[in-house]
Amino acid sequence: MHHLSRITFIVLALVLTMGICSAQAKDEIRVSGQPCLHGLPTWWAIEDGWTKDKNIDLTYTLFPSGAPQVEALAADQWDVGAMGTVPTMMAILRYGAKLIAISNDESETNDLWVRPDSPILKTKGFNPKYPEIYGKPEDWKGKKILVTTVSTVHYALDATLKALGLTEKDVEVVNIEQGQAVTAFASSQGDVVCLWAPFSYTAESKGWKKVSSGARSGAMIPGGVVVRKDFAEKHPDLVVEWLDLYMTALDRMRTDKAGSGVWLNKYFAGYCGLQLPESAIKSEFELRPIFSVEQQVKALTAPDEASAWMKGVADFFAGQGRITKADMADLEKSNFGIDASFMKKVQEKRAAKK
């Protein structure tokens, strides 16, 4: 009898333990991001406990830039993530990743800066089609321009030069990484520096003047939210689950800028080690338009939006000889990896809840 009760106790304990274990066994989604606005949503969801009642467990890996993030994708180190337009395009082209959302419109935060005494500042709107671009073609000719080549800001520079009727042959393009570009420009190297946020905020704080940007020169630069091919095929429901969380964060960023600013500051300062002034945090929301679920679905399906934006970037790369004609054909064939199905499911899920 005594034995029997002991066995019963052990069996009960085992059943309970298994129950607890099975309750805790959540599906893991490995998310990647950068020290950038588009990295905030997942980190916010983790830190604020948005997944407590959900059957998913998010792990977040921070990458300093797009290149190592894409390399990690190739090594199957993450499932979903947010990144800039160029790494997004490379992830689609080389590794078959899918573009499932636009994290934000980065066109205005890919910008060109000069020192306050630059002759470029004397004229504005030389080409009436681009009224916000500073300088006449003569002012730009022969200028030494510091830019991270093969990047979105290089695309913005190219569009600016085209708007002025110039090409890269009319100026001196110097390839340099972003952090070094700021240091070099601060020590009087170069005439124009091309930056992206948050480096742009450093430029602003130094008193440099913005003379153009992607938005001002008609170059649309969408931030990409991508999913690994295998993961999208094997776990579409998990992708939708995570995308729903991502869109929840984007919704809050659109509707509650002050509250979201507090979280962005925590993310930058506490997690990424970036100290930005309050004005820069504010600018992050002002300068980067964020799309709602409905806008996302429209952007991902309308032929003149996401696919046209990606084509613009791809055409620039093809023109530069950075991607081949075959690469371009692959991109066009896959509609630039755009897959609106996940966002549509998020839309349906939300409609059903209502």
């Binding site: 797009g66 290149a67 894409v70 160029v86 590794y95 110097v174 340099i176 950075r322």
Partner: protein, 273 residues
């Protein structure tokens, strides 16, 4: 007698040649096996082609790169010329400063006392950490990049020259002094020649360091060069371009090291004490 004597002389020579060929064949064989395994691993799908491309494709890309600029913006010759210029400028500057400094530190105690603390403090700092300061001090031209290479190449020059002169045979120094040579004369005529083999070892290490730092140096505002080519390959997710850049650095570095070894065998053998 003469036939027997000749065959006795030829026997070791023949066995030396045979030994050399055996060694050579073994090296070629191991290289071919390595390339074959690499090719098979890629072709049989053990590793995704996006992570590693087969050597046959790397060779094709390498040949193409001799006359085509895309996707990294310059031909392989342009990249090699840019990197070789940079590596040689940094290396030569390191030799000009490092070798005399190491010799003087090894021979004159006051020089060692003065320089060593600073040298020991600077030595462990990785050259890449100097990039921001290099930009502030020297701008974004070849000077700053050569400075980064100089920092890497300078250390082995100093250390080997210092050790080389420290190992000078004390008997030779005493003999020179007994015959009335001044300290400077002893340094020039006994110390420096006896340090030559170690100096050359330092030069080879230094050249190696110059080439290994190339990628870091070309992180600094470069638009051509093998390090730049690797970075572009990375940005464009093109492992074939990365591997071509890496192999070219390896080949060019090995070629320069070979040239240095030949120079050493001519100079060091005639000056060894």
């Amino acid at each position: 007698m003469s036939t027997a004597h000749a065959s006795a002389l030829e026997a070791p020579a023949t066995s030396r040649v045979k030994g050399y060929w055996k060694e050579y064949n073994s090296s070629v064989f191991s290289l071919l096996v390595f390339l074959l395994i690499w090719e098979l691993v890629c072709r049989l799908g053990f590793i995704s082609r996006f992570q590693l491309v087969p050597p046959s494709e790397v060779i094709v890309v390498m040949i193409e790169k001799f006359w085509t600029a895309p996707p990294d913006g310059a031909t392989l010759f342009t990249h090699i010329a840019a990197s070789m210029t940079l590596a040689l400028v940094g290396f030569c500057a390191a030799v000009v400063v490092g070798v005399p400094l190491g010799l003087l530190m090894g021979w004159y105690k006051p020089v060692m006392v003065l320089v060593r603390p600073l040298f020991d403090a600077v030595r462990p700092i990785p050259p890449i950490a100097w990039i921001p300061l290099a930009i502030l001090w020297l701008g974004i031209g070849i000077e700053a990049k050569a400075f980064i290479i100089w920092l890497a190449a300078f250390v082995p020059c100093v250390i080997n020259s210092y050790i080389g002169i420290k190992l000078t045979n004390p008997v030779l120094i005493r003999v020179a002094r007994i015959y009335g040579a001044s300290n400077w004369e002893t340094f020039i005529k006994i110390g420096v020649p006896s340090a030559v083999p170690m100096i050359f070892t330092g030069l080879k290490l230094s050249l190696n360091a110059a080439w290994t730092t190339l990628v870091a140096a070309e992180l600094l505002a470069a638009s051509e060069g093998l390090g730049y080519m690797i970075q572009m390959g990375r940005r464009l997710a093109r492992p074939d371009i990365i591997i071509v850049g890496m192999l070219t650095i390896g080949f060019t570095g090995a070629l320069m090291s070979y040239v240095l070894t030949k120079i050493e065998s001519r100079i060091a053998s005639s000056r060894r004490l």
